[in-house]
Every structure is written in C-alpha cells, then in structure tokens.
C-alpha cells in the first residue's frame, strides 16, 4: 500500500545567522545565501529579508502569497512539482518534510491592488492565521521597467524557492511528528468501504489572469480542464497560488498545502464517508468555459460514482456562477452537495452576499462577510509599505490615519474569510 508521510519539524524561532541551519527547533538563515539564491533571477533588483514573530508589533503589507516550507525527502523528487524539477513524478506519495510553525511571506513593491496585510498583534492578528506563524518576509524589488506579469512571476518563484530552500535543511535532522496517509486507488477504496457514501471534493482554483491565477504541477491552470488528484497531492505543492484576489478569501499556497477540507474529510474517511479524491477545476471568465469545465467536473464525479460532494469557492463574484453550475449538475443527478464560500454583504451586512444563486444550493457554509469594517491600531514597525493600504482591496483613500492606525474592511487581511474554512469566522442573520 502506498503512503504519504508528512514529517513535521517544529520551528520555534527564526533568526539571521552565519550559517543556514536548523538546530533545536531554531531556524538560522544566512541572509546572503538566501538573497543570492533569489537574485539568480535577473528580473529581481534587490531582496531584503525580515522576520515577523507572533505577538510583535509588526505589520506586513503588501502581501502577495504565503508558502509553507516543504520539500521531499526523496532524491530526484520534489515538492512544488513543475517548478524545481520536471513535473513528471507523483506528488502526494512518499516522504515530505515540513517546517511547522513558520511561513515564507512574499512582499515588496506592489504588483497590483489585490495584495493584502498581516498584523502580528492586536485586533488585526485575530483575523489571520499567519499572525501565529514565524514569518520570514521576502521584500522583493523588481528591476526598473519590469512589466506586471513578469514582476508577479518573479515574486511567486522567489517565494517557492525560499520555501523549498529552507525546508531542504530539514533533510539532515529528525522530525518531531509524523503523519501518515494511505494513498489508495479507487478500486481499493470501493472494496474497503462499500457501504459508506462516496464523496468527492471539488476544489476551485481561479485562473483568470494577472494575480488571479493558479498553477497545476507548474502549469498555469488557464486552458486546463479539471484535474483529478489524490488528497495528498495538494499537501505536496501540486497546486500553487498565483492568485491575490481578494486577500481575505483567496487561497494562498499555504492554504492549498494545508487544505482543511481535505484534512477534515480524511478524518471522516472510513468512518462516515468514503473519500474518493479531489477534483480541481480552473475557474475561467467566459461562460462557455465555465459550462465546459462544470460539465467535466460533473462527468468525473459521476464516473467515480460519487454520492456526495463539497465544492469550495476560490475568489468571489464570477466564480459563484461556477459553483452554481456544478451544484445544479450534482443535485439534479443525485450527488448531494455542500458549497463552502464566503460573502460580500456590504459593510452594513444588508446586501445579498453572492453574485449568483440557484435553488439547488440548499446547503451552504459561509466563512464570513468580507466587507466588515475594522480599525487596526498603529504598529511599531511596518515590513513593506504601509501607504499601499489605501490602494489595496479593503482599503480606500483615507484608510491610513495620521497616527498610523488603519480603517479598512477585513477583505484586505490575509485569509480572514478563507473559503476553505481554515478559520472559524461565520456570518449569521439577525
């Protein structure tokens, strides 16, 4: 039987030092070594590194992506397939190392206004799981005149490189915790639990252009049809985020790596459900593509004999059309469906929260209203550029007050209404 083994190395402190190494739970990073590695990309003019720890009075802004350091423990194979080696080997099997308790955060000059904010303390910190991580922030400055697409690409690759580089230092040390997942083909799953309802998880991945893209095995998901994956493939970097819209609900690469729906479905697997696998459809802008992809999702689920499904949204607005297209196919053909999303109900909570609806969507979990306003106190230190808050989603002209505090919507806080449900925010009607 094949297995995926996640080996967790707990990081309890990060510091800059003479040598890059992990010892006694402390990650030491040699600044030059890491920035030299990233500066191999000639599109990058400069790299600054910063550390932000839970509880510190620090604000990181603008944030593009958050990546958990992971790499495989097998020679010739790697996490983030398609980026470091060729994409031609199985993600989601064998041993993968993860630096638990820390994250790589990509920041620096704004690519576009879909980027977000992380506060390490204060009320803003409650809205983001990343406030509870030891964050190594990459402040990337592109060369002059670099186009937005190239800028985004350089930052994205730099984040993955850094995450992968750091994780590789765990190869030499023993892990603190091991999680084992069995990787079973469908015939084995059907045989093992014939009486449990068969469930698929449909994980939307938006693929709509600059700062709205995702990558399947290194391939931009635009132009892809839905992909069928083992649940463990997501844990191994099979899907990488190039999506920034919007900070509150877009899936960072960290969220893909730590997909809570996969985790919670696996906990119920062989108990109340037979979890067959994950279908990852791109979400495109043209209706013809939505319909084509929607039908293919249904076809895959039907071929697998699915009886139940969870569909998670990536983004807001037009992806709701895809949610409804798939929900209609599923429900009309006996596949019981739960949709998981978030909503934009206005700052007063009085507006309809979704752009598209269908009566078949009778079971919906919501991860909060992204328009809720908050006031964040000033932080002692900003990593990045605090004035960009007036341009990012959730911010507005006048968001940054003279004393350094910020009035904004939680839409601008990284992961605050994460649509995979990693947070416990919910909206209720009163």
């Amino acid at each position: 039987m094949e297995e995926f083994i996640l080996k967790r190395i707990r990081i309890r402190e990060i510091e800059f030092g003479e040598k890059t190494e992990i010892s006694g739970g402390v990650l030491s990073v040699n600044r030059e070594e890491l920035s030299d590695l990233l500066m191999e990309d000639s599109c990058i003019a400069n790299v600054d590194l910063a550390i932000a720890r839970p509880g510190e009075s620090k604000r990181i802004i603008p944030v593009k992506d958050v990546i958990e350091p992971r790499c495989k423990n097998i020679d010739g194979q790697d996490s983030f397939p398609g980026f470091f080696t060729d994409a031609n080997f199985p993600s989601g099997k064998g041993e993968t190392l993860v630096l638990d308790g820390m994250a790589v955060v990509t920041s620096g000059k704004l690519v576009n206004f879909q980027e977000g904010l992380i506060d390490m303390s204060g009320p803003g910190a409650e809205y983001s799981i990343f406030s509870r991580k030891l964050n190594l922030v990459l402040l990337i400055e592109p060369v002059k005149g670099l186009g937005k697409h190239e800028h985004e690409r350089s930052v994205r690759i730099a984040g993955l490189k850094a995450a992968h580089f750091l994780a590789s230092y765990a190869k030499k040390i023993s892990c603190d915790e091991e999680e084992r997942f069995s990787v079973s083909s469908l015939d084995k799953l059907y045989k093992k639990a014939p009486d449990l309802p068969r469930v698929v998880y449909v994980c939307q991945a938006i693929a709509q252009g600059l700062l709205h893209d995702n990558y399947f095995y290194g391939q931009n998901a635009q132009g892809c049809l839905p992909v069928l994956m083992y649940p463990t493939e997501l844990m191994d970097g099979a899907v990488i985020s190039g999506n920034c819209a919007a900070p509150c609900h877009k899936h960072t690469t960290y969220h893909h790596q730590n997909n809570p729906i996969v985790e919670d479905l696996l906990k119920e697997h062989d108990k109340n459900i037979n979890f067959l696998g994950v279908i990852v459809p791109p979400v495109r802008t043209a209706l013809a593509e939505k319909e084509r992809i929607g039908y293919q999702v249904f076809k895959l689920a039907q071929m697998m004999g699915a009886q139940g499904a969870i569909i998670s949204e990536d983004g807001g607005g037009n992806p709701e059309a895809d949610l409804m297209i798939v929900a209609r196919h599923f429900e009309k053909n006996g596949i019981k469906t739960v949709i998981i999303t978030d909503e934009y109900a206005g700052s007063d909570g009085a507006s309809p929260g979704l752009a598209d609806v269908t009566p078949e969507a009778d079971a919906v979990v919501t991860n909060g209203n992204g328009n809720q306003k908050v006031k964040l106190p000033p932080m002692d230190e900003t990593i990045g550029f605090v004035e960009t808050v007036e341009h990012i989603t959730g911010g507005h002209e006048g968001s940054l007050l003279s004393d350094g505090s910020i009035e904004m919507e939680i839409a601008g806080i990284m992961g605050s209404t994460n649509e995979l449900g990693i947070e416990n925010l919910k909206t209720i009607a009163i």
Binding site: Q208, T285, L287, G317, N318, E320, D356
Partner: protein, 69 residues
C-alpha cells in the same frame, strides 16, 4: 418609466440572477467587448458587432429577461 438598458457581460447567468432585462453575451470578463487575440481590424469588427447587437436589443420589445444572440 425607466430607460431601456442593455448589459454586455461575459457571464449572462449572473446578469439574469441579479435582474438585468436585456443581456448580450460579451467575450470575456477582462474584455467584454475586446478580442485581444485577434488582429486589430478583426477585433474592431467584433466590437462594433456587439455594439450593433446592443442597439438592436434596445429597440426590441421584451416582456421578460432576455439574453440576445
């Protein structure tokens, strides 16, 4: 009495859901009346075609929401 309004959108289902009455299928979300993959003359021809379709929709009597083709 209101003004006839026609919406050119790449996602007619959403327009139908939120109650738009005259709807024309646009090309794509980032460019509802653009076709960047075409040569400029062809792109303009396509755009003009959509505008003319829209004008026709404004002149068409309807009793319920309609996606014009």
């Amino acid at each position: 009495m209101g003004l006839p309004a026609v919406l050119i959108t790449a996602v007619p289902p959403i327009a139908l859901t939120v109650g738009a009455n005259r709807i024309i299928r646009g090309i794509a979300i980032p460019h509802p009346v653009g076709a960047p993959q075409e040569e400029p003359e062809e792109e303009f021809r396509i755009r003009k075609g959509l505008v003319e379709k829209a004008l026709k929709a404004l002149c068409t009597s309807i009793s319920e929401q309609t996606v014009f083709d």
